[in-house]
């Protein structure tokens, strides 16, 4: 006899469906349209609700959680301003293909379109920055919609999905039936690559004399780090990672030539410019990576592997496109390489590596280590040493983000958590909080700057309430550093509105939120301060490092330049524009 199904209210279906999806944490903020749901949350204990202080914080925290764990982050906000506040975080996740499920409350169905209190067209507002969105118009559709949302958000090229739920739907009741599987006739992401294309790629791979492996965030998303590492080491080819791909290949390995792009290493960018074969793996040829497209990889044939067909040949024509999940495609390539007779051209490869080592000798990331003014790079380097390169590191956006990427070599995927595509200031602190909730026993650091940090500073309060002891390293140069750098280079040092006057006392600020604050002014105090902060395992610590105001991020490829036209710290006086 079939088991009789329970009749549940929409709000209860919401809680039950999340439980059935295995959701442990829900980041949210209550409001009128979601009060039924909050009442249902009150009566259950399967899901821990994390009350943020601003909806932007909820989306970033869920995003950090998702990036660190690989599981979707889940958010609940109310209608109107709750939804609009969440949009920045949704767009942040969208640009970096991070799976989020964002529930937005909505006014009751009969009120929609009447300019009701706290009504906005959440579907319309979020449509351009989600993978998909749903408006639930009948409580009978709620469970299946939630199932669809999780499926769409986590499969194929992941991304955020919004579910807009009118208030009356959360009060209505129906039988609860959570589907085990779901199929959408209009959505069937490809997983396996085309065998013919893979064979073609394998042949081309072995014919290369100056190959370059360029891998991105797709490798992290697809959990393909092991495959990438095996593939690269089988061939012995140099590997560069994009900002989003850092950690996917162990950064301390000898085949790793550093990050590429606007602030990439000299050897990575020169390698890109001179290579005769480029193997792009889960990377999307972003403008910060390619520089001027006219000058991009002028001598190279290009193989591109990506799960999203629209990423292939979007900016740069490709010789061998392979649509598929990079993990599966790399596995197939590995087995062809292992079983085939062909070998890489060892002689040519030796010459190529010699050339790369010559570029490396330039030591493009060197900075002044003699001064007692704190160099921001030094702070990151010390953090790396003291955490043995094994911390989860989130960042905000700007100079500190680039220094974190350059000076904290990640050996494991999902350790480096930053807003690469959208470049969202304010991301770092809430994201770190999300990571810490997922991994309470791991060290979680947030490398930030004083300008970014204050954009979501209110989440310090959440950190206290939910006991998420994170370490915040604020590289405080009293400027919006990256804006200042561009103004110095391209606007004749007219520092228009990039100087931060009237900054708060960050030590007192940390203390007022119930945390530990430190102000560090001398280079010689950096190590001791970080050590002390790391030892305070149960406390959130805000380290306010007073850093060199004039420090710039090098190397740099200016807009309109190619990979071979980098600006180095040693030619700081050279004209850029």
């Amino acid at each position: 006899m079939a088991k009789k199904k329970e009749i549940l209210r929409g709000a209860e279906i919401f809680c039950r469906a999340l439980k059935d999806e295995g959701v442990k944490h829900l980041f949210g903020y209550p409001g009128g349209a979601v009060l039924h749901i909050y009442d249902a949350l009150y009566k259950q204990d399967a899901i821990e609700h994390v009350l943020v202080r601003h909806e932007q914080g909820a989306t970033h925290a869920a995003d950090g959680y998702a990036r660190a764990t690989g599981r979707p982050g889940v958010v609940l906000v109310t209608s109107g301003p709750g939804a609009t506040n969440a949009v920045t975080g949704i767009a942040t996740a969208y640009l970096d293909s991070i799976p989020l499920i964002v529930f937005t409350g909505q006014v009751a169905t009969h009120m929609i379109g009447n300019d009701a209190f706290q009504e906005v067209d959440s579907m319309g507002i979020t449509r351009p920055c989600v993978k998909h969105n749903f408006l639930v118009k009948d409580v009978k559709d709620l469970a299946a919609t939630i199932k669809k949302a999780f499926y769409v958000a986590t499969s194929g090229r992941p991304g955020p999905v919004v579910i807009d739920i009118p208030k009356d739907i959360t009060a209505d009741s129906c039988e609860y039936d959570y589907p085990q599987e779901i199929e959408l006739r209009s959505y069937r992401p490809v997983v396996k690559g085309h065998p013919g294309q893979i064979k073609k790629a394998a042949k081309l791979l072995l014919s290369a004399k100056k190959p370059m492996i360029y891998s991105g965030g797709g490798v992290v998303l697809s959990e393909a780090s092991n495959e990438l590492t095996e593939f690269s080491q089988l061939l012995g080819y140099p590997v560069t990672n994009t900002l989003m791909g850092l950690g996917a290949y162990p950064a301390t390995d000898k085949q790793f030539v550093g990050m590429l792009g606007m602030h990439g290493t000299y050897e990575a960018n020169m390698g890109m410019h001179h290579c005769d074969l480029l193997i792009a793996i889960g990377a999307r040829f972003d403008d910060r990576v390619t520089g001027d497209l006219e000058k991009f990889c002028p001598y190279a044939k290009i193989i591109q592997i990506d799960i999203d067909p629209s990423s292939i040949a979007k900016n740069v024509p490709v010789d061998v496109p392979i649509v598929g999940d990079v993990r599966y495609v790399l596995s197939d390539l590995i087995s062809i390489l292992k079983n085939g007779k062909g070998k890489p051209d060892i002689k040519a490869l030796e010459d190529w590596w010699k050339q790369i080592y010559d570029w490396k000798k330039l030591d493009c990331l060197k900075f002044d280590r003699t001064t007692d003014v704190i160099k921001p790079q030094y702070v990151v380097e010390k953090l790396w040493e003291l955490t043995k390169g094994d911390a989860y590191v989130t960042s905000d956006v700007g100079q500190h983000q680039m220094w974190a990427a350059q000076f904290y070599p990640f050996d494991k995927p999902r350790r480096w958590i930053n807003s690469g595509g959208l470049g969202t200031m304010g991301f770092g602190l809430p994201a770190a909080m999300g990571v810490k909730l997922a991994f309470p026993d791991e060290t979680v650091a947030c490398i930030s700057g004083e300008a970014s940090l204050v954009m979501c500073i209110q989440e310090l309060s959440t950190c206290l309430q939910y006991n998420t002891p994170i370490k915040i390293l604020s590289l405080n140069n009293r400027y919006m550093g990256m804006v200042r750098q561009w103004q110095e280079f391209f606007y004749s040092s007219r520092y228009s509105h990039s100087y931060m006057e009237a900054l708060p006392d960050f030590v007192k600020m940390a203390e007022s939120y119930g945390h530990v604050g430190m102000r560090i002014e001398k280079s010689s105090d950096v190590e001791g301060a970080i050590k002390e902060a790391l030892e305070l395992k149960e406390r959130t610590v805000l380290m306010d490092f007073v850093t060199d105001q004039t420090e710039n991020v090098y190397p740099m490829i200016a807009a309109g330049k190619g990979h071979h036209e980098m600006h180095l710290s040693t030619d700081a006086n050279r004209e850029l524009a």
Binding site: M123, G124, R127, P128, K131, H132, L135, V152, L184, R185, S186, Y187, D308, P309, S310, I312, A313, K314, P317
Partner: protein, 163 residues
């Protein structure tokens, strides 16, 4: 180059805005766009006339395919195909113009579907080029109002695009 893209998509609220939003967000051209349900009421057929280089058309097709509600995208330019557009046009038809208007409608195989003392309203179908040609052949001052449906099309022969 001008392309006719034919889409099958879920007949859901907001599906049209997903497509039109995609075109505006990515700065793709739309010359015309029409949408209506098919014989299966859960599926809509949308026909978009757009233009761009091969690379742009490839991107448009890929981006459309990426939309979760889109079931299938076919570029009709890749096949031998038929295209038709419907136009209703209201003309001043007085005195000596009246006979002239009637003659032109006959030449272009249109039909007069509404008549007043002063006007004719004409129904005409054909390729967009033919409709353009009809408008050009008229004295501009005769035209009171024009409404065009936008292009719809199908591939020739036995093949069919199905969901």
């Amino acid at each position: 180059m001008r392309h006719i893209l034919s889409l099958l998509m879920e007949n859901e609220a907001g599906a049209l805005s997903r497509v039109s939003g995609l075109f505006s967000a990515r700065a793709f051209n739309i010359e015309s766009l029409i949408v209506a349900p098919t014989e299966d009421s859960t599926v809509s057929r949308m026909t978009v006339v757009t233009s761009g280089s091969d690379a742009i058309i490839e991107q448009i097709t890929k981006q459309l395919n990426k939309l979760v509600d889109v079931i299938k995208v076919v570029d009709l330019n890749e096949f031998r195909h038929i295209e038709r557009e419907l136009m209703l046009i209201k003309l001043i038809a007085q005195n000596e113009c009246r006979d002239e208007a009637k003659r032109m409608v006959d030449i272009f195989r249109g039909r007069i579907i509404d008549v007043t003392e002063n006007t004719y309203t004409i129904e005409m179908t054909g390729t967009s080029e033919k409709l353009d040609a009809f408008i050009e052949s008229l004295d501009n001052s005769m035209i009171l109002e024009v409404v065009r449906s936008g292009v719809s099309g199908l591939s020739r022969g036995d093949k069919a695009t199905q969901s």
